[in-house]
Symmetry: C2
Subunit: 345 residues, 2 copies
């Protein structure tokens, strides 16, 4: 047999095996994960209307919701930066450092709860938190409403968004509008989504190997579902303590919410969607290198030392989780007038 | 004659006079002012290309140009807030207060020079200033470039924007791109622009009376041209010192640039375009009420006490200077990687 014929025959023998393996990989992945849908998911009791999305977008970009009039939702969850601020922890009121790394707003509607410790049940509840956190926007529930009522241009927007409410400018409505806007901040069409929908070519070979390693090593035990995370709580350091740099002893995580010893150093498993866009990593924001973060997860959560090759492959797979970023037209905010409450230094 | 006939006759007699007056007002206004054009004006030696606009937009929203990675051009010149931040003076690096009220970026291309004291000749020169001002973004010329080179995603954008430059990531190119983006931040189609183009009905009667008062009282001596200001320097307090609240003695304005005693307390006459959207007023940002600002201008610059009625009419005219606000899609910024220079606290 000539050499070229041997090569051709080998290809025939090998190809189906590879294709079979890819099919099996896809099937295994489809059992564990779901693609990001093309349309925003509905919120219970908070219907999406264009008017509510528009109001929510304005409020999302509204620095006057903070005591100093300098900090908006977008300050720490920037639409153009993967929904984060690329800081270890955010800078809040009077340059104070936040307690934990700002989680991404993108696809956050798919998380089972909000904040690293899950202390807010949903997006609407979350939205009001930073406004009154003294380290963040540092306002009060009363003042947020005074402020919005003091900007005459908001009146018509609240009325359009909540047409059945006789006195629509209030904190629950502001939170609802922000939540509805945030449901639109989803990132479909990542290569991984295309793969999950049946396009074998959407992932590179290295990404497929990374996906295989991600499932084989147990990463997908916690990082699964539509958000590849975001749907359960786990201790950081299941097997091995990752060290005080990544897990400072004074932040006991979900324990601060439940006061149950079982929840000491327990955190919500973060989404890995768009993870390549959202350094630094962990609730401390202490890892700036996704390779490092993957390796630390291997040792602390799974008790294994991933080889450099495995880390590289898993990181390549994580790159495939970057979807279409939101295309948001910057909203025009109504002006302050002479009677509008003024910023406090 | 019956009463109704008398009224009808009076109308016939009065109407042409009003129409004549409106024509004369329009003609007088056309001599003094120009409408904002529909398209961005060209910058000498810095051609507008879609690639340059896109890069400039990214850099405009890029907080990593600041030492702390928290402050971008848009922090103080917010696209959705009339191109300002609605603060007396901005909050910069480590919560420091800026020296003067942030001028609007909107239509700034039509100003003869940039900053309140005109210390930058054009938009490109202006763009680099805040980046290295220790009170503002607090970076250095060297570090800005290190930072941009340290974000791999920028490479392709700079190459597309400056295809003939073998090493395009540098500060002059960044400034040029920002300047070109800023030329797109113009606000045509204000009611006043429509009036200037011949639409008599574009202004209300009160606004027309305000325009007449604006010209008759001498406001238009300084506030004229396409930007209704922005094209000359004048002392604040031509006739009467407006008081230390509005003119603190330690800020000598353009004197700091020229060191000429003639320039003590001299400032660039600000544009009045979109003035209703950009409180607070004056270089100190100490007036939150446009009516008050108009009255202070009357006394300090013209030596006249405007009546409440005149102030109301002039303010109504100023409302007609609000044009179509820019519709800017928030740019997606390239992520930091493990080797990207990190924020400094």
């Amino acid at each position: 047999m000539r050499k070229s014929s041997i090569i051709a025959l080998s290809c025939l023998l090998v190809m189906p095996v590879n294709m079979l393996a890819a099919q099996e990989l896809m099937s295994d992945a489809q059992d564990l994960f779901e693609p990001i849908p093309a349309e925003p998911p509905a919120l219970e009791g908070n219907a999406l209307t264009p008017e509510k999305v528009e109001l929510g977008k304005m409020l999302y970009f509204e620095p006057r919701l903070s005591e100093s009039h300098t900090i908006s939702c977008n300050t720490c969850h920037q639409i153009g930066m993967g929904g984060v601020d690329m800081l270890e922890t955010s800078r809040g009121h009077r340059w104070q450092a936040g307690g934990r790394n700002a989680p991404t707003v993108l696809n956050s509607v798919f998380n089972t709860a909000q904040f690293w410790d899950g202390r807010a049940a949903d997006l609407a509840e979350q939205a009001g938190g930073p406004m009154v956190n003294p380290v963040e926007m540092a306002s009060t529930t009363t003042h947020v409403v005074e402020q919005l009522k003091g900007i005459p241009g908001y009146d018509a927007y609240f009325k359009s968004a909540f047409p059945d409410d006789p006195d629509p400018i209030n904190l629950p409505n502001a939170e609802k509008a922000i939540a509805v806007f945030e449901t639109t901040l989803i990132t479909p069409n990542a290569p991984f989504d295309k793969f999950l929908k049946g396009d074998e070519t959407a992932l590179t070979d290295m990404q497929k190997e990374g996906l295989q390693a991600f499932m084989d090593n147990g990463c997908a035990t916690c990082h699964n579902g539509v958000n590849v995370g975001g749907n359960m709580y786990q201790p950081f350091g299941v097997v091995e303590n990752p060290g005080a740099e990544f897990l400072p002893p004074d932040d006991k995580g979900r324990f601060q919410v439940t006061a149950s010893v079982d929840d000491e150093y327990v955190f919500k498993v973060p989404t890995l969607r768009n993870i390549a866009l959202t350094p630094p990593y962990f609730h401390t924001g202490k890892s700036w290198d996704l390779h490092q973060a993957v390796a630390v997860m291997g040792s602390s959560q799974l008790g294994i030392t991933l080889s450099d090759d495995e880390v590289a492959k898993i990181t390549a797979f994580l790159d495939s989780l970057t979807g279409d970023q939101p295309q948001i037209v910057y909203p025009t905010l109504p002006p302050s007038v002479a009677t509008t409450p003024r910023p406090m230094p």
